[in-house]
């Protein structure tokens, strides 16, 4: 079900009969089986690829200019951070409408602490995360333990946090932020070492990631053989390694040839890998899928459904605070109107990325792909100077097409 960047999804496809000696036709069959199994996710990945190619052509190559790729990451980072948390909420069978307002509120809180009270920024950062956690916990408590529907609780939260933001800021925009905090939203990794025309640390990080991903794959394959489980044929395995390497190298080189990797990309990377791992491998992650997929069955299996729901909302609060800091730092000011409709973008990202209204389905990678589809649409249309009126219409259509395709595909396969 879940597939992550460094995942074993082809291993999840029916293994070939002949181990490493699969023929070309058998391989094709395997690839097709894998595709069918994860139609939703691969479908969106392919759609994202097509979008990139289309805009690359339409913008005469501007889309993939190193500077623009850097921009794309910076512009979308906070939506992606929110989408990660939102994916958890939706998998658990809930919704969170309050994250946009909460984002604004934590940003405003950071501004009050650092600008008005001159607190050191690391202290402010910790306090902001704590406020986010508290807000998430409060909402989570009402939803999980008192049984008030999440739609209602977070709709109330959406109104309340927006109002509190305006109170904190007294309707004004507050800034600028100390350097350290600014860097979080706009900064790049430092330049060190000899002049190579490329950004050295970014290159090193890229290579490190590449090595890690490949080693992880090889290790998994070895473990599977150790447990005498069937594994994907060698050729297909190599093909997969090549594909992963190519993707990592391309992004690394693009970023390294401009100012290097944005700091926020590093943060985002850690979150994606971390949450991907939790959702796939941690008992906690499995329990989220279980309560979203079939709550009564999960209860009868001894899953502590209330605690899990509570933690999912607490987590959403923390991620909203992270996003709030990033937004404020990037704009270098806290504004009462920050984060408007971010919740809707995060929700749309999750659904484009394969979440289901009824819960139990979805992956972190899916949320990221969904967020990137929206991000590339935004960025590409901006480059083409499409008006915001049409941008909204087109994004709405993208959501409809993605989910419509999913529904159609499910009906066709009769499930």
């Amino acid at each position: 079900m879940s597939t992550d960047v460094t995942d074993k999804s082809p291993a999840a496809a029916p293994p070939g009969k002949g181990g490493g000696s699969a023929t070309g036709g058998g391989m094709l069959q395997l690839v097709l089986d894998g595709l069918r199994r994860n139609m939703r996710q691969y479908g969106m990945l392919i759609a994202l690829g097509l979008l990139v190619i289309l805009f690359q052509v339409w913008t005469d190559g501007d889309l993939l200019l190193p500077r623009n790729v850097s921009n794309l990451v910076l512009q979308n980072s906070y939506i992606l951070i929110l989408a990660i948390g939102m994916m958890l909420v939706i998998i658990a069978g809930h919704i969170d409408l309050s994250v946009g307002s909460l984002t604004a509120f934590t940003g405003a809180f950071a501004a009050v602490l650092t600008v008005q009270h001159d607190l050191p920024w690391p202290v402010a950062l910790v306090l902001c995360l704590a406020v986010g956690a508290a807000a998430g916990a409060a909402q989570g408590f009402l939803i999980a333990y008192l049984g008030i529907p999440s739609f209602i609780v977070t709709l109330a939260g959406m109104l309340m946090f927006r109002g509190l933001t305006e109170m904190l800021l007294k309707g004004q925009t507050l800034g600028p932020f100390p350097d350290g905090l600014q860097k979080m939203g706009n900064g790049f990794l430092p330049e060190v070492g000899p002049d190579t025309n490329y950004h050295n640390i970014t290159l090193l990080l890229g290579f490190a990631l590449l090595t890690f991903a490949v080693l992880q794959e090889v290790r998994d394959r070895k473990r599977q053989q150790e447990f005498a489980l069937e594994v994907v044929p060698r050729n297909l395995f190599l093909l997969k390694l090549v594909a992963i390497s190519a993707a990592i190298l391309t992004v690394t080189m693009l970023l390294a040839s401009y100012k290097g990797a944005p700091i926020i990309l590093l943060v985002l990377g850690v979150l994606v890998v971390g949450y991907g791992y939790v959702m796939r491998n941690a008992v906690f992650g499995r329990h989220i899928y279980a309560i979203g997929g079939n709550l009564p069955a999960a209860k009868l299996s001894g899953v502590k459904d209330k605690k899990v729901t509570f933690l999912v909302f607490l987590n959403m609060g923390v991620l909203a605070a992270v996003a709030g800091l990033v937004v404020a730092a990037r704009l270098n000011a806290a504004s009462p109107k920050a984060g408007l409709s971010f919740e809707l973008e995060a929700i749309a990202s999750s659904f484009i990325g394969g979440a289901s209204m009824s819960g139990g389905v979805g992956t972190i990678l899916g949320a990221i792909i969904g967020g990137l589809v929206l991000g590339v649409l935004n960025n590409g249309m901006n480059l083409l100077s499409v008006g915001t009126d049409w941008q909204q219409v087109i994004k709405g259509m993208a959501l409809l097409i993605a989910v419509g395709f999913d529904v159609w595909n499910k009906r066709k396969s009769g499930s």
Partner: protein
């Protein structure tokens, strides 16, 4: 005696993989109350669904003659136009609408799309009087009791000019007083010339209201008896319901000599549970049972006997409102207030409703099997996926789960294979006591045998097994000892040697005044 109003001839109805009705013939005379009885799953409800058009013409074989004409209903509306109205076991009222609105739902007194309230209220009041209700027609359905709701259903039927009223276990959810009222009403309607078919397995009820009874068994109509005739005794009806021989459908099983000295693996003492909503009703009433290691103990009972409620309330208070009783494991009292506590004490409950309570249908075999005991394949909260996969592959092979890999979603498996996944899941949890609730419901004969074999092996390994079932042959074929329950009470306990289908059925159909 009047002639037949309804004839159903050689009705055959198949569902994918199951033949629900093989050959059923039913003749109901004008103006009588005709009872239909048989075990759970015998095909009673399916037959009524065929009659009322829930299963439309063309989806079954055979003919239906109503008032002398052949009828072919394409949906419920068509059968209602002929005056055939079915009242299902689960009430179909809209709780937040008024009695009057419910009575005329889909059949409103209206002109040009606007409701004529005056006529609606007048007519509703009249219909409510006819069923003996004095409540105001603008009362909301949710504000009256279940017993009255059942009567509102009948008022709704009367508004449709009913000629043949079908009631599917109408008293299953009612207390004694409400049941009596309902039965009196059926007799009253009979005087007004309305023919009724009543599905029931409460023999005293049948004796009270019915003129004749048709017995259905394994999808065949066995016989129709005249209830008023002196030779139609309760024993006569029971032998008709159960009369079939045990063939070789069970694994060879040497009855286990349960170790005598040690305390029973599980003891339940004086367990009482109230209905979650209707708190006056005792769903389980002072039940005490015990099971030893290596023993398979059956609990026999018909629908509404309180077996599932007993099991689920013991398993982490997952049903109803606890009202007293203790649970002992190996002679020591234990807390089973939450499912996690019950599981920690080595108790497993395998639900009768695997789709709603047993499995996450959209998830894989792999993850369904590991869910309850994830910590067994995890270190510090992190699941070792290879080990997990190895475990579930092991169950796929040993339980013979028919699926290409363990990454298949369980929703795509057949009922039998889904049941094997649920069993695997709980066996993997490593319990000492397994409570199996209707473990072979809705699965084919071959898969049943496999599941019986697994149950036998579990007992042989020294697990204590509680086997809840309404199929008597399987209890007689598998159990060392059998308890019977009726209306929330324990009504008997029989060692394997003394138990026969007739003896058990007698205790299962025992009513309250008989036990007390």
């Amino acid at each position: 005696m009047a002639g037949p109003v309804l004839e159903m001839r050689s009705i055959v109805k198949t569902f994918p993989g199951v033949k629900a009705l093989s050959d059923v013939t039913l003749t109901v005379r004008q103006g009588e109350v005709h009872a239909i009885c048989g075990e759970n799953g015998a095909g009673k409800s399916t037959l009524m669904k065929v009659l009322s058009g829930v299963h439309p013409h063309g989806s079954y074989e055979g003919d239906i003659l109503f008032e002398g004409e052949t009828v072919r209903f394409k949906d419920i509306r068509a059968s209602e136009q002929h005056g055939i109205v079915i009242i299902h076991q689960e009430l179909a009222l809209s709780p937040y609408l008024s009695l009057a609105e419910n009575i005329f739902l889909g059949n409103e007194h209206a002109k040009g799309g606007f409701i004529n309230w005056r006529e609606t209220l007048r007519h509703a009041t009249e219909l409510l009087r006819r069923v003996g209700l004095t409540d105001h027609p603008e009362t909301r359905v949710t504000d009256i009791g279940v017993g009255k709701q059942q009567l509102v259903e009948i008022a709704k039927a009367l508004s449709k000019k009913v000629k043949l009223l079908i009631l599917d276990e109408p008293t299953a959810a009612l207390n004694d007083e409400d049941s009596d009222k309902l039965l009196d009403l059926i007799l009253e309607l009979k005087k007004q010339g309305i023919t009724s078919i009543i599905i029931s397995h409460k023999l005293n009820e049948i004796r009270k209201v019915a003129d004749s009874v048709t017995i259905i068994r394994d999808g065949h109509s066995i016989e129709t008896l005249d209830v008023k005739a002196p030779e139609t005794t309760e024993d006569r009806i029971i032998s008709g319901m159960v009369g079939r021989d045990l063939d070789h459908r069970f694994p060879e099983r040497t009855p286990h000599e349960a170790e005598k000295g040690a305390a029973p693996a599980l003891q339940i003492r004086d367990w009482t549970v109230h209905h979650p909503i209707d708190q006056q009703r005792k769903v389980v009433d002072g039940v005490s049972i015990e099971v030893r290691r290596g023993e398979i103990v059956g609990i026999a009972g018909l629908m509404g006997a309180g077996r599932t409620e007993l099991a689920m309330s013991v398993f982490g208070r997952s049903y109803g409102r606890y009202a007293g009783g203790t649970v002992l494991k190996d002679g020591k009292e234990i807390r089973t207030k939450t499912v996690a506590e019950a599981v920690d004490h080595g108790i497993a409950y395998v639900t009768e409703d695997r789709k709603h309570y047993g499995l996450n249908l959209i998830d894989t075999i792999n993850r369904n099997i590991s869910l309850t005991a994830l910590s067994k394949v995890a270190k510090r909260g992190v699941v070792d996926e290879q080990q997990e996969r190895q475990v579930s592959e092991g169950y796929r092979k040993s339980m013979n789960i028919k699926a290409p890999t363990v990454f298949e979603p369980v929703g795509k498996l057949s009922g039998g294979n889904q049941q094997k996944v649920v069993l695997s899941k709980w066996i993997f949890a490593g319990p000492d006591v397994l409570i199996l609730d209707e473990p072979t419901r809705g699965i084919d004969v071959g898969a049943k045998f496999e599941i019986y074999t697994v149950i036998d092996q579990l007992a042989a390994q020294g697990k204590a097994v509680v086997f809840i079932s309404s199929e008597l042959p399987e209890l007689l074929g598998m159990c060392d000892r059998i308890y019977t329950m009726a209306a929330g009470r324990l009504t008997g306990e029989f060692p394997r040697a003394e138990a026969t289908q007739e003896v058990l059925m007698r205790q299962m159909t025992k009513d309250k005044e008989v036990t007390r």
